[in-house]
């Protein structure tokens, strides 16, 4: 049987929870960031211990291995420089042609490197937290990617940390285009609870000409993600809604389980 103290405790906890759950979204977001900032000392501790570990690792690396690594990187750097020169030439040519046709000039995007500091503790969302916040100029809905492809978008911003909602989360929908002759477009939606490497590409027309192995990239529609960021490759195609629509399973280009560093894209 419940006694008076039990009723008081129950009432207090229920009341407090209901108040917090019904806070206006902005107040709730601020309160959430405030509560989350209690973990700042542990962030510092974790990052400094990682630094110490990596410094110790660097100290024991043999000199021969370091020299070999240096040579490889120098060669790769030269190749990338040449590629950058070619890209620059193509970009200026593109700008000239756009001017000739009278199209609006595309603005170039800037990138900022961020470290992944925390992962989602709940099993029913796909998010990570990065070490850049509003003081670094971040704001909601900026695209986040790696050199392999798209990762997700910024969903909330604190002063020093931001939350990134990853591809496959129900709150991260991306308009995508298949790189085939018909340029079919669809929407990247949620994945299964255990599928971290795959996402569903839905809302495709039933006549879509899809084959496994075709690349999928952002279409640029929707106003959040710019055109042409790689998302992944089609691995399976199936008809849904009694053949009225087509759905494809896409293997993501980025390994979302092993994210350590990501790039935030600024317009």
């Amino acid at each position: 049987m419940l006694k008076r103290p039990h009723y008081i405790a129950l009432g207090l906890v229920v009341l407090l929870t209901l108040v917090i759950l019904n806070l206006p979204s902005q107040t709730s977001a601020r309160f959430k960031l405030g509560v989350g900032s209690l973990f700042l000392p542990l962030f510092g501790l974790a990052s400094s211990s990682q630094q110490v570990a990596s410094t110790m690792g660097d100290a024991v690396l043999p000199r021969r291995q370091l020299l070999g690594l240096n040579d490889d990187l120098r060669r790769e750097n030269q190749q990338l420089r040449l590629q950058a020169l070619q890209a620059q030439e193509t970009s200026s040519e593109n700008a000239r042609l756009r001017q000739l046709v009278g199209w609006q000039r595309e603005t170039s995007w800037k990138l900022k490197l961020a470290k992944v500091v925390l992962r989602e503790p709940a099993n029913w969302w796909r998010t990570v937290q990065i070490d850049l916040g509003s003081r670094d100029g971040l704001r909601v809905n900026l695209p986040v990617l790696t050199t392999d492809g798209l990762v997700g978008r910024i969903s909330s911003v604190g002063l020093t940390r931001s939350q990134v909602v990853l591809l496959g989360d129900p709150n991260c929908k991306v308009s995508a285009r298949v790189e085939n002759e018909t340029r079919d477009t669809g929407v990247i939606g949620a994945s299964g609870p255990l599928d971290r490497e795959f996402v569903q590409l839905g809302f495709l027309s039933r006549n879509a000409n899809l084959k496994p192995g075709q690349n999928v990239a952002t279409s640029g529609e929707g106003g959040i993600f710019p055109k042409g960021i790689p998302i992944g490759k089609i691995v399976d195609v199936q008809a849904t809604d009694s053949g009225l629509r087509t759905e494809a399973q896409v293997k993501l280009a980025t390994n979302l389980s092993a994210l350590e560093e990501v790039w935030v894209m600024f317009p």
Partner: protein, 183 residues
């Protein structure tokens, strides 16, 4: 109320929530991150007072939600419901038995995510749920079952190390000793 015990439980909760968000090795291997809050709640409900149970539910739930995409406060009620249910029946539970701790941890760790998901659906959210969720619940329950006796051992050790115990008087009195001769 023993404030030191409450502080130790809350400190462990703080570290447990950070561990869940910072280290995702278990999640990569098993497909689900183990939740340490239900095992801590089982310990608090069996060995501490109602205030500690309420504080653990409030602080643990808010800390967890602040690092997650959950709406703030959604984890508090399921944790408190589990804590209160165990607290009310704690006189009937053989809390010193490892098997009882194991089963309580198993049950609490399975029920907590289900209640949280029900609350999320009630609030109109759409969390990632599918057949794979059953596997995740099984991992959570098994992980919680293993973690609960470990929690009891850890807190027992801390209690012995940090809490001062009054020396108990023995019933033996030398002046009442019966000395027997050879015969």
């Amino acid at each position: 109320m023993n404030w030191l015990n409450t502080a130790i439980v809350l400190g462990a909760t703080y570290l447990a929530v950070f561990w869940e968000a910072a280290f995702s090795g278990v999640s990569h291997v098993l497909g689900a991150q183990i939740d340490l809050l239900p095992p801590l709640m089982v310990y608090a409900a069996l060995c501490t007072g109602l205030t500690t149970v309420a504080l653990l539910a409030l602080c643990g739930g808010l800390w967890f939600d602040s690092l997650s995409a959950n709406p703030l406060g959604v984890t508090v009620l399921p944790l408190f419901a589990i804590g209160l249910a165990i607290y009310l029946k704690r006189d009937l539970i053989l809390r010193d038995e490892t098997f009882a701790r194991l089963m309580l941890g198993l049950g609490a760790s399975a029920v907590a995510p289900v209640l949280t998901l029900l609350l999320l659906f009630t609030m109109g959210r759409t969390p990632l749920v599918g057949w794979g969720t059953l596997w995740q619940l099984a991992v959570l329950a098994a992980g919680g079952a293993i973690a609960t006796p470990v929690c009891f051992e850890l807190f027992g050790w801390l209690d012995r190390m940090l809490v001062h115990r009054r020396a108990t008087e023995s019933s033996f009195r030398p002046d009442r000793e019966i000395r027997r001769g050879r015969l």
